[in-house]
Amino acid sequence: MVNRTAPMVNAGSMADIAFLLLIFFLVSTTIETDKGINRKLPPLLDEPVIADIKERNLFRVEINQQNELLVEGELMKIDELKSAAIAFLDNGGGSANQGCDYCLGSKDPLSSENPGKAIVSLVNSRETNYQTYITVQNELMAAYNELRNRVSTKLYGVSFLTMEESLKDPNYVGSREELKERIRNVQSLYPEKLSEAEPRQ
């Protein structure tokens, strides 16, 4: 009668409970992607601004309703777009004070004067597929990133993407201000000038 020691709790079912929880989390969660291409939209203006741009400084990229890529009016495969964009941006064919001393391009008098003036114009049709559009955006970004990496490695010994990574890294040792200044400098050497017109009907 006086035997009042508390009975042992059987822990054998603990594993089952934990399994149940585990399976619940396995089923109910999905690994969501949190990566993507960042873009900035132009503000909505009441009246369109007419810009005075020389034809040679304009790189026309068009994606038609059949998802075909037209660069300067000619058909092109998507995997050739990056090198074509680099050739255009890095041309540096301007005369003396309009030129670009860090460019390694062919200095073609019919292509862009300097990267600051070079504008990529992207036009798409309403019937264009979203994935084709993203592919083209990605290739154009790749062209800018490659040029920025090149000039950044030459000036500072580190690539542009590494600098951007370390700016976000909280454990980065070194001057943040200097890093920001360097990033700004590289960005100004190859500014991202991508204009997107209203889609064709």
Binding site: A15, N124, N129, I134
Partner: protein, 159 residues
Amino acid sequence: MNTFKNKKNQKLPEISTASLPDIVFMLLFFFMVATVMREDTLMIENRLPYADQVERLENKNLVMSIYAGKPSSRYIYVGDEAKIQLNDKFASLQEIKSFILSERAGKRDAEIPFLITALKVDKDTKMGLVGDIKKELRAVNALKINYTTRNGDVANNSQ
């Protein structure tokens, strides 16, 4: 001497399962930490395209998501035209403005310039819809956008 005495009639000891819960809990915690709960229940197909020039979205609570794509098979009764989904329901183009404004109202003033709109658009959507969404976003001055993609080679897109 005693130590060597019982050697012959000793049985194989049972394997203790006492640490099994610990192992399972460890797995459980791993999955709890490594996975992100989906905030919205998707009513549309949402296979994102691939891209490799991507940046990570740093601050989760500064991201507003707009989904677009064909309605998934359960919601086929609304038609097979690509639709926009905001929060948990289908929305029309005009509702984007009020969605952005209500999202802004829930944030602190200092955070508003850093808000970013993530466009999670199915890869087979036509650009017309995406263009319309972008136009609506421009109208409410929500200019920072992010085309959310899967990380991978763009060559995967053509398949």
